[in-house]
Protein backbone atom coordinates (compact mmCIF):
# COMPACT_ATOMS: atom_id res chain seq x y z
CA UNK A 1 0.00 0.00 0.00
CA UNK A 2 1.52 3.28 -1.09
CA UNK A 3 0.98 6.44 0.87
CA UNK A 4 1.58 10.03 -0.10
CA UNK A 5 1.89 12.75 2.49
CA UNK A 6 1.64 16.18 0.96
CA UNK A 7 2.37 19.50 2.59
CA UNK A 8 0.90 22.68 1.15
CA UNK A 9 3.35 25.49 1.83
CA UNK A 10 3.31 29.18 1.20
CA UNK A 11 6.39 31.06 2.35
CA UNK A 12 7.29 28.48 4.98
CA UNK A 13 11.05 28.21 4.48
CA UNK A 14 11.58 28.53 8.24
CA UNK A 15 9.53 25.51 9.21
CA UNK A 16 9.32 23.25 6.17
CA UNK A 17 12.48 21.20 6.80
CA UNK A 18 11.38 20.47 10.34
CA UNK A 19 7.98 19.30 9.16
CA UNK A 20 9.52 17.09 6.48
CA UNK A 21 11.91 15.52 9.00
CA UNK A 22 9.00 14.93 11.36
CA UNK A 23 6.95 13.18 8.66
CA UNK A 24 9.93 11.05 7.63
CA UNK A 25 10.40 9.91 11.17
CA UNK A 26 6.74 9.10 11.85
CA UNK A 27 5.93 7.70 8.40
CA UNK A 28 9.16 6.27 6.96
CA UNK A 29 7.40 4.42 4.13
CA UNK A 30 5.36 7.33 2.83
CA UNK A 31 6.37 9.48 -0.12
CA UNK A 32 6.41 13.18 0.63
CA UNK A 33 5.30 15.93 -1.73
CA UNK A 34 5.60 19.61 -0.87
CA UNK A 35 3.16 21.78 -2.82
CA UNK A 36 4.69 25.23 -2.94
CA UNK A 37 1.84 27.67 -3.53
CA UNK A 38 3.87 30.32 -5.32
CA UNK A 39 6.15 31.19 -2.41
CA UNK A 40 8.39 34.21 -2.76
CA UNK A 41 10.91 32.82 -0.28
CA UNK A 42 13.12 29.74 -0.55
CA UNK A 43 10.41 27.20 0.32
CA UNK A 44 10.92 25.19 -2.87
CA UNK A 45 14.70 25.19 -2.60
CA UNK A 46 14.61 24.25 1.08
CA UNK A 47 12.20 21.39 0.43
CA UNK A 48 14.32 20.14 -2.49
CA UNK A 49 17.38 20.08 -0.24
CA UNK A 50 15.48 17.75 2.07
CA UNK A 51 15.16 15.40 -0.87
CA UNK A 52 11.37 15.31 -1.16
CA UNK A 53 9.22 15.83 -4.25
CA UNK A 54 8.19 19.43 -4.81
CA UNK A 55 5.31 20.67 -6.95
CA UNK A 56 5.77 24.40 -7.36
CA UNK A 57 2.74 26.38 -8.48
CA UNK A 58 3.87 29.29 -10.64
CA UNK A 59 1.90 31.83 -8.61
CA UNK A 60 0.00 31.93 -5.33
CA UNK A 61 -3.52 30.58 -5.74
CA UNK A 62 -4.69 29.86 -2.24
CA UNK A 63 -4.75 26.82 -0.03
CA UNK A 64 -7.55 25.08 -1.93
CA UNK A 65 -5.66 25.01 -5.21
CA UNK A 66 -2.52 23.80 -3.41
CA UNK A 67 -4.39 20.98 -1.67
CA UNK A 68 -6.09 20.00 -4.89
CA UNK A 69 -2.67 19.75 -6.51
CA UNK A 70 -1.71 17.22 -3.85
CA UNK A 71 -4.89 15.17 -4.32
CA UNK A 72 -4.41 15.26 -8.08
CA UNK A 73 -0.83 13.99 -7.75
CA UNK A 74 -1.87 11.21 -5.36
CA UNK A 75 -4.67 10.12 -7.71
CA UNK A 76 -2.60 10.11 -10.87
CA UNK A 77 0.47 8.48 -9.38
CA UNK A 78 -1.66 5.66 -8.09
CA UNK A 79 -1.27 6.13 -4.34
CA UNK A 80 -3.68 4.15 -2.20
CA UNK A 81 -3.85 6.63 0.66
CA UNK A 82 -2.87 10.23 1.09
CA UNK A 83 -2.68 12.68 3.94
CA UNK A 84 -1.81 16.31 4.29
CA UNK A 85 -0.71 18.56 7.12
CA UNK A 86 0.17 22.22 7.54
CA UNK A 87 3.70 23.35 6.79
CA UNK A 88 4.00 25.64 9.80
CA UNK A 89 4.78 22.91 12.31
CA UNK A 90 1.42 22.88 14.10
CA UNK A 91 0.68 19.30 13.15
CA UNK A 92 2.75 16.48 14.65
CA UNK A 93 3.36 13.77 12.05
CA UNK A 94 2.67 11.04 14.58
CA UNK A 95 -0.93 12.29 14.64
CA UNK A 96 -1.08 12.17 10.84
CA UNK A 97 0.01 8.55 11.10
CA UNK A 98 -2.96 7.88 13.38
CA UNK A 99 -5.33 9.39 10.80
CA UNK A 100 -3.82 7.17 8.12
CA UNK A 101 -4.43 4.12 10.28
CA UNK A 102 -8.16 4.87 10.22
CA UNK A 103 -8.09 5.14 6.43
CA UNK A 104 -6.02 1.98 6.05
CA UNK A 105 -8.49 0.09 8.24
CA UNK A 106 -11.24 1.37 5.89
CA UNK A 107 -13.23 2.83 8.76
CA UNK A 108 -13.67 6.09 6.82
CA UNK A 109 -13.00 7.63 3.41
CA UNK A 110 -11.86 10.96 4.81
CA UNK A 111 -10.47 11.57 8.29
CA UNK A 112 -10.08 15.00 9.84
CA UNK A 113 -7.64 15.65 12.64
CA UNK A 114 -9.56 17.69 15.19
CA UNK A 115 -7.88 19.68 17.91
CA UNK A 116 -11.18 20.30 19.68
CA UNK A 117 -12.89 16.98 20.06
CA UNK A 118 -11.44 16.34 23.50
CA UNK A 119 -7.83 15.56 22.70
CA UNK A 120 -6.75 15.24 26.31
CA UNK A 121 -8.81 12.10 26.63
CA UNK A 122 -6.75 10.37 23.99
CA UNK A 123 -3.32 11.86 23.69
CA UNK A 124 -2.63 13.72 26.88
CA UNK A 125 -2.07 17.44 27.21
CA UNK A 126 -3.42 19.79 24.53
CA UNK A 127 -0.75 22.29 23.54
CA UNK A 128 -2.96 24.31 21.27
CA UNK A 129 -4.25 27.72 22.36
CA UNK A 130 -6.57 29.32 19.80
CA UNK A 131 -6.82 33.09 19.36
CA UNK A 132 -10.08 34.92 20.00
CA UNK A 133 -11.10 35.44 16.36
CA UNK A 134 -10.15 31.86 15.63
CA UNK A 135 -12.49 30.70 18.39
CA UNK A 136 -15.44 32.69 17.04
CA UNK A 137 -14.86 31.47 13.50
CA UNK A 138 -14.56 27.93 14.70
CA UNK A 139 -17.86 27.93 16.55
CA UNK A 140 -19.72 29.64 13.70
CA UNK A 141 -18.43 27.17 11.13
CA UNK A 142 -19.01 24.29 13.48
CA UNK A 143 -22.64 25.31 13.83
CA UNK A 144 -23.35 25.85 10.15
CA UNK A 145 -21.46 22.83 8.92
CA UNK A 146 -23.20 20.60 11.42
CA UNK A 147 -26.50 22.08 10.26
CA UNK A 148 -25.61 21.52 6.60
CA UNK A 149 -24.28 17.99 6.91
CA UNK A 150 -26.27 16.74 9.90
CA UNK A 151 -23.01 15.35 11.16
CA UNK A 152 -21.08 16.72 14.10
CA UNK A 153 -17.82 18.44 13.23
CA UNK A 154 -15.69 20.26 15.75
CA UNK A 155 -12.59 21.36 13.85
CA UNK A 156 -13.96 22.40 10.48
CA UNK A 157 -10.87 24.25 9.24
CA UNK A 158 -8.37 21.61 10.22
CA UNK A 159 -5.63 21.22 7.64
CA UNK A 160 -4.66 17.77 8.87
CA UNK A 161 -6.48 15.10 6.92
CA UNK A 162 -6.11 11.65 5.50
CA UNK A 163 -8.03 10.17 2.59
CA UNK A 164 -8.42 7.21 0.27
CA UNK A 165 -8.79 7.07 -3.49
CA UNK A 166 -12.52 7.85 -3.49
CA UNK A 167 -11.77 11.18 -1.90
CA UNK A 168 -8.80 11.77 -4.18
CA UNK A 169 -10.95 11.44 -7.28
CA UNK A 170 -13.65 13.65 -5.82
CA UNK A 171 -11.34 16.40 -4.60
CA UNK A 172 -9.09 16.43 -7.63
CA UNK A 173 -12.09 17.46 -9.72
CA UNK A 174 -14.18 19.46 -7.25
CA UNK A 175 -12.33 21.55 -4.76
CA UNK A 176 -13.19 25.13 -4.04
CA UNK A 177 -10.07 27.25 -4.43
CA UNK A 178 -11.42 29.85 -1.99
CA UNK A 179 -12.95 27.85 0.75
CA UNK A 180 -11.12 24.63 0.76
CA UNK A 181 -11.56 23.18 4.22
CA UNK A 182 -15.23 23.67 4.94
CA UNK A 183 -16.75 23.23 1.53
CA UNK A 184 -14.76 20.07 0.98
CA UNK A 185 -16.27 18.52 4.11
CA UNK A 186 -19.76 19.45 3.00
CA UNK A 187 -19.08 18.10 -0.47
CA UNK A 188 -17.70 14.80 0.82
CA UNK A 189 -20.67 14.23 3.11
CA UNK A 190 -23.14 15.10 0.35
CA UNK A 191 -21.43 12.62 -1.95
CA UNK A 192 -22.11 9.92 0.59
CA UNK A 193 -18.51 9.47 1.67
CA UNK A 194 -17.69 8.46 5.21
CA UNK A 195 -16.12 11.44 6.92
CA UNK A 196 -14.80 11.04 10.41
CA UNK A 197 -13.10 13.25 12.94
CA UNK A 198 -10.27 11.97 15.06
CA UNK A 199 -9.04 13.92 18.05
CA UNK A 200 -5.44 14.99 17.66
CA UNK A 201 -2.85 16.97 19.56
CA UNK A 202 -1.62 20.16 17.88
CA UNK A 203 1.30 22.46 18.66
CA UNK A 204 2.03 26.16 18.51
CA UNK A 205 3.32 27.38 15.18
CA UNK A 206 7.07 27.16 14.72
CA UNK A 207 7.35 29.74 11.95
CA UNK A 208 5.38 32.21 9.83
CA UNK A 209 2.27 33.95 11.11
CA UNK A 210 -1.46 33.30 10.90
CA UNK A 211 -3.22 35.16 8.13
CA UNK A 212 -6.26 35.90 10.27
CA UNK A 213 -6.65 39.52 11.35
CA UNK A 214 -10.03 40.45 12.92
CA UNK A 215 -11.36 42.09 9.74
CA UNK A 216 -10.23 39.23 7.59
CA UNK A 217 -11.73 36.81 10.07
CA UNK A 218 -15.10 38.53 9.83
CA UNK A 219 -14.97 38.42 6.06
CA UNK A 220 -13.77 34.82 6.19
CA UNK A 221 -16.71 33.84 8.37
CA UNK A 222 -19.23 35.66 6.19
CA UNK A 223 -17.82 34.06 3.05
CA UNK A 224 -17.89 30.66 4.73
CA UNK A 225 -21.58 30.94 5.52
CA UNK A 226 -22.40 31.99 1.95
CA UNK A 227 -20.32 29.15 0.56
CA UNK A 228 -22.05 26.60 2.79
CA UNK A 229 -25.47 27.93 1.83
CA UNK A 230 -24.68 27.73 -1.87
CA UNK A 231 -23.18 24.28 -1.36
CA UNK A 232 -26.52 23.02 -0.11
CA UNK A 233 -27.97 23.64 -3.55
CA UNK A 234 -25.26 21.86 -5.48
CA UNK A 235 -26.37 18.67 -7.19
CA UNK A 236 -25.70 15.43 -5.38
CA UNK A 237 -23.88 13.17 -7.79
CA UNK A 238 -24.16 9.44 -7.58
CA UNK A 239 -20.98 8.24 -6.03
CA UNK A 240 -18.40 7.50 -8.68
CA UNK A 241 -16.67 4.20 -7.95
CA UNK A 242 -17.84 2.69 -4.78
Amino acid sequence: MRTLVFIPAWNEQASISGVIADVRKALPDADILVVDDGSTDATTATARESGVLVATLPFNQGLGAALQTGYLFALREGYDYCAHLDADGQHPATEVARLLEVIAADRADLVIGSRYSDPSAVTGRDDYKPTFSRRIGTSVFRFFLTLATRQRFTDTTSGMRAANRRVMSLFSENYSPDFAEIESLQLAVRQGLRVEEVPVRMLERTGGSSFLTPVRSAFFIFKGIVVLLVGQFRPRHAEADR
Binding site: R2, D31, L33, V35, D36, R48, G51, L53, V54, A55, T56, L57, P58, F59, Q61, A65, Q68, T69, L72, F73, L75, R76, E77, G78, S169, S172, E173, P177
Partner: protein, 150 residues
Protein backbone atom coordinates in the same frame (compact mmCIF):
# COMPACT_ATOMS: atom_id res chain seq x y z
CA UNK B 1 -25.71 58.49 -25.32
CA UNK B 2 -26.58 62.00 -26.49
CA UNK B 3 -29.89 60.67 -27.69
CA UNK B 4 -30.77 59.72 -24.16
CA UNK B 5 -29.91 63.16 -22.82
CA UNK B 6 -31.99 64.80 -25.53
CA UNK B 7 -34.89 62.53 -24.88
CA UNK B 8 -34.66 63.18 -21.16
CA UNK B 9 -34.49 66.95 -21.44
CA UNK B 10 -37.43 67.03 -23.84
CA UNK B 11 -39.39 65.32 -21.05
CA UNK B 12 -42.03 64.02 -23.39
CA UNK B 13 -43.15 60.59 -24.29
CA UNK B 14 -42.42 60.64 -28.00
CA UNK B 15 -38.88 60.56 -29.36
CA UNK B 16 -38.23 63.29 -31.89
CA UNK B 17 -37.10 62.40 -35.41
CA UNK B 18 -33.65 63.78 -34.66
CA UNK B 19 -33.15 61.65 -31.56
CA UNK B 20 -34.18 58.61 -33.53
CA UNK B 21 -31.65 59.36 -36.26
CA UNK B 22 -28.85 59.98 -33.73
CA UNK B 23 -29.72 56.78 -31.87
CA UNK B 24 -29.78 54.77 -35.11
CA UNK B 25 -26.39 56.17 -36.17
CA UNK B 26 -24.93 55.37 -32.76
CA UNK B 27 -26.31 51.84 -32.88
CA UNK B 28 -24.92 51.20 -36.35
CA UNK B 29 -21.54 52.71 -35.40
CA UNK B 30 -21.51 50.50 -32.32
CA UNK B 31 -22.13 47.35 -34.31
CA UNK B 32 -19.49 48.34 -36.85
CA UNK B 33 -17.05 48.78 -33.99
CA UNK B 34 -17.85 45.27 -32.75
CA UNK B 35 -17.29 43.90 -36.25
CA UNK B 36 -13.96 45.69 -36.48
CA UNK B 37 -12.87 44.33 -33.08
CA UNK B 38 -13.69 40.80 -34.19
CA UNK B 39 -11.96 41.29 -37.55
CA UNK B 40 -8.75 42.51 -35.88
CA UNK B 41 -8.83 39.62 -33.38
CA UNK B 42 -9.29 41.87 -30.38
CA UNK B 43 -12.68 40.37 -29.55
CA UNK B 44 -13.62 36.71 -29.80
CA UNK B 45 -16.84 35.83 -31.59
CA UNK B 46 -18.26 33.98 -28.64
CA UNK B 47 -18.05 37.10 -26.49
CA UNK B 48 -19.47 39.37 -29.17
CA UNK B 49 -22.97 37.92 -29.44
CA UNK B 50 -24.26 39.75 -26.39
CA UNK B 51 -22.92 43.05 -27.72
CA UNK B 52 -24.61 42.50 -31.08
CA UNK B 53 -27.88 41.88 -29.32
CA UNK B 54 -27.38 45.16 -27.45
CA UNK B 55 -26.67 46.99 -30.72
CA UNK B 56 -29.72 45.49 -32.40
CA UNK B 57 -31.83 46.52 -29.43
CA UNK B 58 -30.62 50.09 -29.79
CA UNK B 59 -31.39 50.04 -33.51
CA UNK B 60 -34.85 48.59 -32.95
CA UNK B 61 -35.58 51.27 -30.37
CA UNK B 62 -34.58 53.99 -32.84
CA UNK B 63 -36.49 52.52 -35.77
CA UNK B 64 -39.69 51.78 -33.92
CA UNK B 65 -40.31 54.31 -31.14
CA UNK B 66 -43.63 52.63 -30.48
CA UNK B 67 -41.66 49.64 -29.27
CA UNK B 68 -40.25 51.55 -26.33
CA UNK B 69 -43.68 52.84 -25.38
CA UNK B 70 -45.06 49.35 -25.65
CA UNK B 71 -42.32 48.03 -23.34
CA UNK B 72 -42.90 50.90 -20.90
CA UNK B 73 -46.58 50.06 -20.89
CA UNK B 74 -45.73 46.40 -20.23
CA UNK B 75 -43.48 47.38 -17.33
CA UNK B 76 -46.18 49.62 -15.95
CA UNK B 77 -43.93 52.67 -16.24
CA UNK B 78 -45.62 55.90 -17.23
CA UNK B 79 -42.44 57.66 -18.35
CA UNK B 80 -40.75 55.97 -21.32
CA UNK B 81 -37.43 57.56 -20.34
CA UNK B 82 -37.53 55.75 -17.03
CA UNK B 83 -38.31 52.54 -18.89
CA UNK B 84 -35.38 53.13 -21.23
CA UNK B 85 -32.93 53.73 -18.37
CA UNK B 86 -34.23 50.75 -16.46
CA UNK B 87 -33.74 48.49 -19.44
CA UNK B 88 -30.23 49.81 -20.01
CA UNK B 89 -29.37 49.34 -16.34
CA UNK B 90 -30.61 45.76 -16.40
CA UNK B 91 -28.67 45.11 -19.58
CA UNK B 92 -25.45 46.41 -18.03
CA UNK B 93 -26.08 44.36 -14.90
CA UNK B 94 -26.52 41.28 -17.06
CA UNK B 95 -23.31 42.03 -18.93
CA UNK B 96 -21.35 42.50 -15.70
CA UNK B 97 -22.66 39.17 -14.43
CA UNK B 98 -21.75 37.56 -17.72
CA UNK B 99 -18.19 38.82 -17.26
CA UNK B 100 -18.02 37.39 -13.76
CA UNK B 101 -19.08 34.01 -15.10
CA UNK B 102 -16.45 34.14 -17.83
CA UNK B 103 -13.85 35.31 -15.32
CA UNK B 104 -14.65 32.45 -12.94
CA UNK B 105 -14.32 29.93 -15.71
CA UNK B 106 -11.00 31.35 -16.76
CA UNK B 107 -9.75 31.48 -13.17
CA UNK B 108 -10.54 27.76 -12.84
CA UNK B 109 -8.76 27.06 -16.10
CA UNK B 110 -5.69 29.04 -15.04
CA UNK B 111 -5.59 27.18 -11.71
CA UNK B 112 -5.74 23.82 -13.44
CA UNK B 113 -3.04 24.90 -15.86
CA UNK B 114 -0.78 25.95 -12.99
CA UNK B 115 -1.45 22.65 -11.19
CA UNK B 116 -0.65 20.64 -14.30
CA UNK B 117 2.61 22.49 -14.72
CA UNK B 118 3.55 22.04 -11.05
CA UNK B 119 2.79 18.31 -11.23
CA UNK B 120 4.71 17.95 -14.46
CA UNK B 121 7.76 19.44 -12.79
CA UNK B 122 7.38 17.25 -9.72
CA UNK B 123 7.16 14.21 -11.96
CA UNK B 124 10.28 15.28 -13.83
CA UNK B 125 12.05 15.73 -10.55
CA UNK B 126 10.98 12.26 -9.45
CA UNK B 127 12.38 10.78 -12.65
CA UNK B 128 15.65 12.60 -12.21
CA UNK B 129 15.90 11.47 -8.60
CA UNK B 130 15.19 7.85 -9.49
CA UNK B 131 17.77 8.10 -12.27
CA UNK B 132 20.30 9.46 -9.81
CA UNK B 133 20.03 7.06 -6.90
CA UNK B 134 18.00 4.21 -8.37
CA UNK B 135 15.22 4.33 -5.78
CA UNK B 136 12.18 4.83 -7.97
CA UNK B 137 9.39 6.30 -5.94
CA UNK B 138 6.77 6.54 -8.62
CA UNK B 139 5.05 3.90 -10.65
CA UNK B 140 4.58 4.47 -14.34
CA UNK B 141 0.90 3.71 -14.38
CA UNK B 142 0.43 7.43 -14.05
CA UNK B 143 -0.36 7.94 -17.73
CA UNK B 144 -3.35 5.61 -17.62
CA UNK B 145 -4.98 7.26 -14.65
CA UNK B 146 -4.36 10.63 -16.26
CA UNK B 147 -6.56 9.68 -19.21
CA UNK B 148 -9.34 8.45 -16.94
CA UNK B 149 -9.24 11.64 -14.95
CA UNK B 150 -10.43 13.88 -17.73
Amino acid sequence: MSSLVLAASANQVHLTARTRIVAAILAIAFMLLILELIRSNRLQERYSVIWFVAGLGMLAGAAFPGLLEFVAELMGVRDTNVALFSILLLLLLGLALNFSVIMSRQAAQITRLAQERALERARQQAEEDSGANGSAALREESLESEEQGF
